[in-house]
Amino acid sequence: MIEIFGVEVSLDPIWLTLEVAAWTTFILLLLGTPLAWWMARMQHSSKIVLEALVALPLVLPPTVLGFYLLIIFNPNGYVTEFLRFFGFEGQLTFSKTGLIVGSVFYSLPFAVQPLMHAFEAVPQKLLDAAATMRANVLDRFFTIVLPLSQRGFLVAATLTFAHTVGEFGVVLMLGGNIPGETRMVSIDIFDHVESLEYDQAHVLSAMMLIFSLIVLMLVYGINRRFGVKVG
C-alpha cells in the first residue's frame, strides 16, 4: 500500500501484472519463434489456414475465450489429466500459471504476426550463403535469421507485453481475481470502479497510462534509431 496524491493504492496488482506480462512475452517469443519461422517458410495454401487460426484470438471476445479456456483447463478435464501424466501437480486455472497460459493464447497473434513478417523479410540468399559456409539449419537460424529480425522481435515483444498488461476478459475468467495471486491491474481498476472507489481507479489508470506511454516511446525510439536495415 502506498499513497499517491492522497489516495491509497496497493502495488501488488501492478507487480503481478508486470510479472505475468513479462512471462507471457518470454513464453510467446520462445514458442512463437519456431511457429512463426515454420509459417514463414510454408508455401502451401495451408499457410492461409494457419494464419487465420493464429489471428483468431483477435476476433474472439476475451471473455468468451476465457470462458472456453476455463472449461478446457478444468482440473478434471483432459488437458489437466494430460499434464498430470507428466507430473504436473497444480491447476491451470486460478493461478499465476493459468493467467500466463491464458495470456499466451490471447496475445498469440501479437507475437506471431510481426515475427512471421520479419522472418519472411530475411533474404533467402543470406541463408544460402551461410549454408555454403557449413552452417546447418539451426546455426543459420540463430546466426542469421534471429539477428536480422531484431525489429520484428522488438515489435512482437512490445505488442505482447502491452496487450497482456491491458488484458481483462481472459484474466477475469481464468484467474478468479484472487488478491496477490491473480488480481491484475486491469481487474483492480475495475474492482475500484465497481466498489465506487473512483479515486483509486483514476490514480491506477493514470499510472498505467504514463508507464505505458514511456515504454512505448522507448521502444519506438529504439526501433527507429537502431533498426538493422537489410538489403
Partner: protein, 232 residues
C-alpha cells in the same frame, strides 16, 4: 489462524471488505476476497475455482452449487437483502416517483440487466407491476451488474435509474448526498435475498466456519445495514 478465499458478488464488495477487516481483527484469520459477477463466479466454481465460500447476489446460484455438488448441504443462509432505490439528480423522484416514471421525460433510465442481476430483475418486475413498463421500455439501459447500472447514473449518462440503496448511502459513493432518491417499498417486489454457501473446498477450514458465523453476528449485521441492506 487460517486463510480462506471467498468469492463475493461484486455489489457486496465494499461491505464485505469492512466486515472482513473486523473479522480479521477479532479472530486473526485471514481472508481473501474474489469479486466478480455472480454468474462468472458460479462458472468458475463449477470449473474448480479455489474458493472456500460463495456469496452470491441472489439465492438461485448459491443454491445451484449445492445441487451441482460443489456447495455443502446445510450451510446455505441469506446474509443480506438488497433494497432498490430510484435515484435521480434531475427529477423530483423523492416527492413524485411514479409521476416522473409515468411522464418519462428523460432519454434513458438505467437499471441492471434483468437476465443476469437480481436487482435488475426486481426493478423490471416492479415497473411492470406498476404498469409503467411499456412507457419506459425503449428508454431502459441495462448495466451488466448493479454496479454497472450505478456507473451510468453516477457519470450522468442516465439522468435517472433504479440502483441499490447501498450505493447511495455509502459515504464514499460519488453521489453521496447528491441528487435525491426514493426507496422502493419492499412490499412491491420480492425480496432480493443474497445467499451464501460454504463450498466443498472450505468445509474443514475453521476460518470459513468462523466467518460464516461472524457474518450473522450483530456486529456484522450492523455493518450490513449501515450499507443500505436489510437483513432477514
Amino acid at each position: 489462524a487460517q486463510t480462506a478465499t471467498i468469492a463475493v458478488a461484486a455489489n457486496f464488495t465494499k461491505t464485505i471488505e469492512v466486515i472482513g477487516d473486523e473479522f480479521t481483527k477479532e479472530t486473526g484469520h485471514k481472508l481473501k476476497f474474489s469479486f466478480g459477477p455472480t454468474g462468472k463466479l458460479f462458472a468458475q466454481i463449477k470449473n474448480g475455482a479455489p474458493f472456500d465460500a460463495f456469496f452470491g447476489a441472489d439465492e438461485k446460484r448459491a443454491l445451484k452449487t449445492i445441487e451441482d455438488g460443489t456447495g455443502v448441504n446445510g450451510t446455505y443462509f441469506v446474509y443480506a437483502q438488497g433494497q432498490i432505490a430510484l435515484y435521480s439528480d434531475k427529477y423530483p423522484v423523492k416527492e413524485q416517483p411514479l409521476e416522473v416514471l409515468k411522464k418519462a421525460e428523460f432519454r434513458h433510465i438505467a437499471m441492471a440487466n434483468p437476465r443476469t442481476a437480481p436487482y435488475g430483475e426486481r426493478a423490471q418486475a416492479y415497473v411492470k407491476k406498476m404498469g409503467l413498463y411499456d412507457g419506459l421500455k425503449s428508454k431502459i439501459v441495462n448495466g451488466e451488474s448493479i454496479a454497472h447500472a450505478f456507473q451510468y447514473v453516477a457519470t450522468g449518462n442516465a439522468p435517472i435509474g433504479f440502483i441499490a440503496l447501498s450505493q447511495i448511502v455509502d459515504p464514499q459513493s460519488p453521489i453521496y448526498k447528491k441528487g435525491e432518491y426514493w426507496v422502493v417499498p419492499q412490499a412491491d417486489y420480492a425480496p432480493i435475498k443474497q445467499g451464501a454457501v460454504v463450498l466443498k473446498r472450505g468445509q474443514d477450514n475453521t476460518a470459513v466456519k468462523a466467518f460464516m458465523e461472524f457474518v450473522q453476528s450483530p456486529k456484522a449485521i450492523e455493518i450490513i445495514q449501515s450499507y443500505g441492506y436489510s437483513t432477514p
